[in-house]
């Protein structure tokens, strides 16, 4: 199909982009890799009078280690995240997560910043970013701030970015070597998007849980960290019956997405199953 008519700008610098964003505010939409926005525009689910195509901003395309963090420019392609030796050596779960996104064609076009700013509740990165406790950098003409990923996702396709802000960078603290991470996804056969996805970080001290982080996607309008679940496990001796017991609360009391392919009961069940499987894999049983 053909999108509704729009004007398109291609800024050459971040400053130029920020100026355009500040000028057009909510009339404008930022286009990065275009893997989600363009189909939505072609279907006319989304229509914007102005498109600011930042695809040419090479200054936002980098992967580096600095201050104990891995910093990834917003326009870094999924495929670059997947193939980065720095990332696979420091945060292998992130390489794996990137490799699970859609297909190679999409990974060669889609960007990490675009994916996070798009805030699709079924995307691959969010649960993993949540357990890695990543931050994003948001820039505007008035300066920049960092937003913790846990505060980024507001609802479906909605973030806490202000209308004059551009997401420019993702910063991921390099995790403690003793914390093990895992990621599982139930891909929708049509798109590869998660029906449910789950990321877990687990640090054991002998048989005791020293630290645990659990996040889910595909379940509600936003991916979320399950802090209640984490609290139930911290400092406890990890065994099958505890894992079974705590997993019962997953998704309870939440408004779980339900559709013809997977209803709420099934999504909850898959989330529980993934959590249990990841907990067992990571504790090494």
């Amino acid at each position: 199909m053909i999108p509704a008519t729009f004007e398109c700008y291609r800024p050459k610098t971040v400053d130029e982009a920020l100026s355009l964003i500040s000028q057009y505010k909510d009339e404008a939409k930022v286009l990065a890799g275009g893997q989600s926005l363009i189909p939505m525009m072609k279907l006319r689910f989304a229509r914007y009078p102005v498109i600011i195509d930042i695809g040419g901003l090479d200054e936002l395309r980098f992967i580096k280690e600095e201050d104990g963090k891995i910093k990834i420019g917003a326009l870094t392609k999924h495929r670059e995240v997947e193939k980065s030796e720095l990332i696979s050596s420091k945060i292998p779960v992130l390489s794996y997560c990137a490799s699970e996104i859609a297909d190679i064609q999409v990974r060669n076009m889609g960007t990490i910043g675009g994916s996070l700013a798009h805030a699709d509740p079924s995307a691959d990165f969010p649960p993993v970013m949540l357990v890695l406790e990543a931050d994003v950098v948001a820039k505007s003409q008035n300066g920049e701030r960092t937003i913790s990923v846990k505060d980024l996702f507001v609802s479906v396709f909605e973030t806490s970015l202000k209308e004059d802000e551009l997401l420019t960078e993702v910063q991921i603290p390099i995790p403690d070597n003793n914390m093990k991470f895992g990621y599982k996804k139930f891909p929708h056969p049509a798109t590869g998007f998660a029906v449910v996805n789950c990321a877990v970080g687990l640090k054991m001290n002998g048989n005791t849980v020293e630290d645990i982080r659990v996040a889910f996607g595909g379940m509600t309008t936003s991916p979320y960290r399950d802090y209640e679940l984490e609290e139930k496990l911290k400092g406890k001796e990890l065994n099958d019956s505890l894992i079974e017991e705590v997993s019962d609360s997953i998704g309870e009391g939440k408004d779980i997405i339900s559709d013809y392919y997977a209803d709420a009961d099934y999504r909850k069940h898959v989330a529980k199953t993934f959590f249990k499987r990841l907990a067992n894999e990571l504790r090494g049983s």
Partner: protein
């Protein structure tokens, strides 16, 4: 050795793979306008008013048409299958909705503009005021008293009812040890060709000639029906088929959109193009399947099936599509007994209107549904009786033979069902698989083995037979084989390949008969001004019907060439040997003439025998004496994760018997494509409507086609039982894979679930459905 039977690579591929295909979207004509349809967002509603003024004034818009503009100028779209003795309701589809809309996606207006952009923009500015009416989407709901009526003059939404009865049903059921009953819903899916629908129409007022390019499987049928709809004489319409990016049945019907753009081109005297979006395809082309069967099988305790009784509600959607009445009746019921010796049969078939998009042929058209019912029932019978499903099948298979008359009146051309089944069981090591299944169950791992014996009705077909069962068309096929002065050959066929590789297989056939290399032969088809009458490609008829016509024409050419060669070599025909394209005198091998030289002499006609016409070509109209019935056995092995319901394929093995195989490479491709189609329909693809008739799976975001990583490696094997219907001994292979695989996968999955006490589960086999079934079974006391 000839080239027929050799794995010749497709001649078509180089062109298509290097981007030189010429598809409908590639057609651009000077002054061409673009059409975009305004479609109903409601499943059922009265049209109160349509305001087109804003759209008409939008820059670039040339015209906006609604039903009012068509009134008195065109006719409604007729149905091309009127099933005898079925009380088939008289319903014709208006080109644009009049008074009310009957399914989500039904066009109410068309916007014609200078650019596609303008047409899409303006289409959003056509304001239609609807009064919402209650909708009905499921066939067995639609027939109930008080259900909303899709067409007011069709009571209980029953469009037609067809009854097939044979043998002594009462006796069979009274002698049965058990009567096994099951309701089975084979869910709605869609053919989903890679290339969506489209048409370009151009009208020349000087010649009063309408040219329509259309993505179709059957150009001549389009010309015929467009002539009826548009009141334009048939010889004033030329339908041209560009390269077609897949059909699978979706490009058999004559769609109202094609007629509307033709009307627009005639009114505006400018070319008009319409290419649908994928979303429009899902909402408004055709879907398939969606049959609800209520089946009863009379069986003996040893598994012998004595009789079948039952009925089926076939969902037709809101209107008839071109051949849909046949899909829910003739193409379905007559083959239901399958490869089994079942002597009593009583089956009522209802075609039911609902507030959904029309259904029609979807790779198999009625036969996949029949095999699904039958082969699910055989597995259920085995489970009920505590027998091995293969044992039950073997007990009931018809013996090998020819011209086997069935209880429904079909005559199976040639059969050796045991041979195919035994071969499949042996290669798959069926006994070993069953042992493995037992072992793994002890570890709480659940593998399932699906075995089906499949059969298809192909090679459409004896015209008087299809006429007797209501198809408003013939089903013979035509071919011209024309040898040019340089000895190159053009085949002109009434068939209309769209991915089958007929350019290759027909060339192989001609090459063997005339001794002319394949690369010197080319196929022309799909242009009604260049091609004699023919009926197109569908129903696995390309080889059996189209191919046989080609063979017959090539043989006629050969006979003339031989006669001329004898004349040129000054001898008798009996004294000639033909080898590698050369006629050689047996008594004097020095004296010879190539077929190319014969062609030159025939075409210049300087020295022909008295009374012989110039030229070297022949035309054949071939009407087969019977259908063909390919068959085989497929085996599928899956593992089900009982915790998530996810299914992994462990094996898919196909033994097919399509008679003689013209090209094993193409046969493998057809079977594999069909199996992928069947797997998709079984597990991933689902057209789902909400209760109020909103399509929930209207894009590739929701409708999952089977991608490469979602299907298993497929092992292809064959047995060869030549057909006695045609001289090539071929049967047809395009649909068999789809027919067999859909139920084979179902049987494998449900077999895996047997330890939970699950006997049947309706499709699609999504992980959520499987998991739910396991949960319910556990609550009902199933073990495992």
């Amino acid at each position: 050795m000839g080239v027929v039977g050799q794995p010749v690579k497709r001649k078509e591929d180089r062109r298509l793979i290097t981007g030189y295909g010429e598809f409908l979207e590639d057609i651009k004509l000077p002054g061409m306008l673009y059409a975009v349809f305004v479609r109903s967002p409601l499943a059922h509603g009265k049209i109160v008013s349509i305001d087109t003024s804003e759209a008409e004034n939008y820059p670039g818009v040339v015209a906006v048409f609604t039903a009012k503009d068509l009134e008195g100028k065109v006719n409604d779209n007729p149905v091309a299958w009127i099933v005898p003795d079925s009380n088939q309701a008289d319903v014709k589809r208006p080109l644009l909705a009049r008074d009310k809309v009957r399914f989500m996606g039904e066009p109410v207006a068309v916007v014609i503009a200078e650019s596609r952009q303008a047409a899409y923009d303006a289409a959003e500015l056509v304001y239609v005021d609807y009064e919402d009416l209650p909708a009905v989407v499921q066939a067995d709901e639609a027939v109930k008293d008080g259900a909303p009526l899709v067409h007011e003059h069709v009571p209980n939404n029953i469009a037609l009812k067809w009854h097939v009865k044979g043998g002594d049903v009462e006796k069979a059921f009274s002698e049965a040890d058990r009567i096994i009953k099951q309701r089975i819903h084979i869910h709605r899916a869609a053919p989903v060709p890679l290339e969506p629908r489209g048409a370009v129409a151009k009208y020349n007022p000087g010649k009063d000639k309408l040219t329509v390019w259309v993505t179709t499987q059957n150009a001549h049928i389009h010309r015929f029906l467009l002539s009826v709809i548009l009141n334009e004489p048939e010889h004033k319409i030329r339908v041209i088929t560009p390269d077609v990016g897949g059909g699978f049945g979706a490009k058999i019907p004559v769609y109202i959109e094609e007629a509307v753009v033709s009307f627009a081109a005639m009114q505006l005297k400018r070319p008009v193009k319409w290419v649908e979006t994928r979303s429009e395809h899902f909402v408004s082309s055709i879907h398939g399947r969606d049959f609800i069967g209520e089946l009863e099988f009379a069986v003996k305790n040893d598994g012998k099936i004595l009789g079948i009784r039952g009925k089926n509600y076939g969902n037709l959607g809101a209107y008839y599509s071109t051949i849909s009445p046949g899909c829910v009746t003739v193409l379905h019921g007559l083959i239901l007994p399958g490869t089994y010796d079942i002597q009593a049969f009583d089956y009522e078939m209802y075609g039911v209107f609902t507030n959904t998009a029309p259904t029609d042929a979807d790779r198999g058209a009625g036969r996949p549904e029949a095999l699904f019912f039958l082969e699910r029932m055989v597995d259920i019978i085995a489970q009920e009786l505590g027998l091995d499903p293969v044992e039950v099948r073997k007990k009931n298979l018809l013996p090998p033979g020819e011209n086997i008359k069935t209880v429904t009146g079909l005559v199976y051309d040639s059969a050796d069902y045991q041979k195919a089944m035994n071969k499949a069981l042996e290669i798959a090591d069926y006994e070993g698989l069953r042992k493995q299944q037992e072992e793994l169950r002890k570890e709480c791992r659940y593998i399932g083995i699906g075995v089906v014996s499949h059969i298809d009705i192909c090679g459409f077909a004896p015209s008087k037979v299809v006429g007797a069962v209501g198809l408003q068309a013939g089903q013979w096929e035509s071919a011209i084989v024309r040898v040019h002065p340089t000895g190159k050959v053009t085949i002109v066929s009434g068939a209309s390949p769209h991915g089958q590789g007929s350019d290759t297989t027909y060339s192989q056939i001609v090459s063997d008969i005339l001794g002319i290399p394949i690369e010197d032969i080319e196929l022309v088809y799909g242009d009604t001004d260049a091609v004699q009458m023919g009926w197109g490609t569908y129903g696995s008829r390309g080889a059996a019907t189209g191919g046989t016509a080609v063979a017959k024409a090539a043989k006629k050419v050969f006979e003339k060439a031989k006669m001329l060669a004898a004349h040129f070599l000054e001898t008798e025909e009996e004294n000639l040997e033909f080898k590698d394209g050369v006629f050689i005198r047996k008594d004097n091998p020095e004296k010879k003439i190539t077929i190319q030289d014969v062609a030159l002499q025939a075409n210049v006609a300087w020295n022909l025998p008295e009374g012989v016409e110039p030229g070297l070509e022949a035309e054949v109209f071939y009407d087969p004496s019977n259908f063909t019935y390919p068959f085989g056995t497929h085996i599928c092995v899956v593992e089900v994760d009982p915790e998530t319901g996810q299914v992994d394929f462990l094996k898919y093995l196909a033994v097919d018997d399509a008679g003689n195989i013209l090209n094993p490479l193409l046969a493998d491709g057809q079977v594999q494509g069909g199996i992928v189609h069947g797997i998709g329909h079984s597990m991933y693809e689902a057209i789902v409507y909400s209760e109020d008739g909103q399509l929930l799976t209207g894009s590739f975001n929701e409708y999952a086609l089977p991608k490469a990583h979602l299907v298993p490696h497929i092992e292809n094997h064959y047995t060869i039982t030549p057909s006695n219907v045609n001289e090539l001994g071929v049967k047809g292979i395009g649909e068999a894979g789809a027919i067999a695989a859909q139920v084979c996968v179902a049987n494998a999955i449900i077999d895996a679930l047997k330890p939970f006490g699950i006997k049947h589960l309706d499709s699609p086999y999504t992980p959520a459905r499987i998991w739910k079934a396991i949960q319910e079974a556990k609550q009902n006391g199933g073990n495992a």
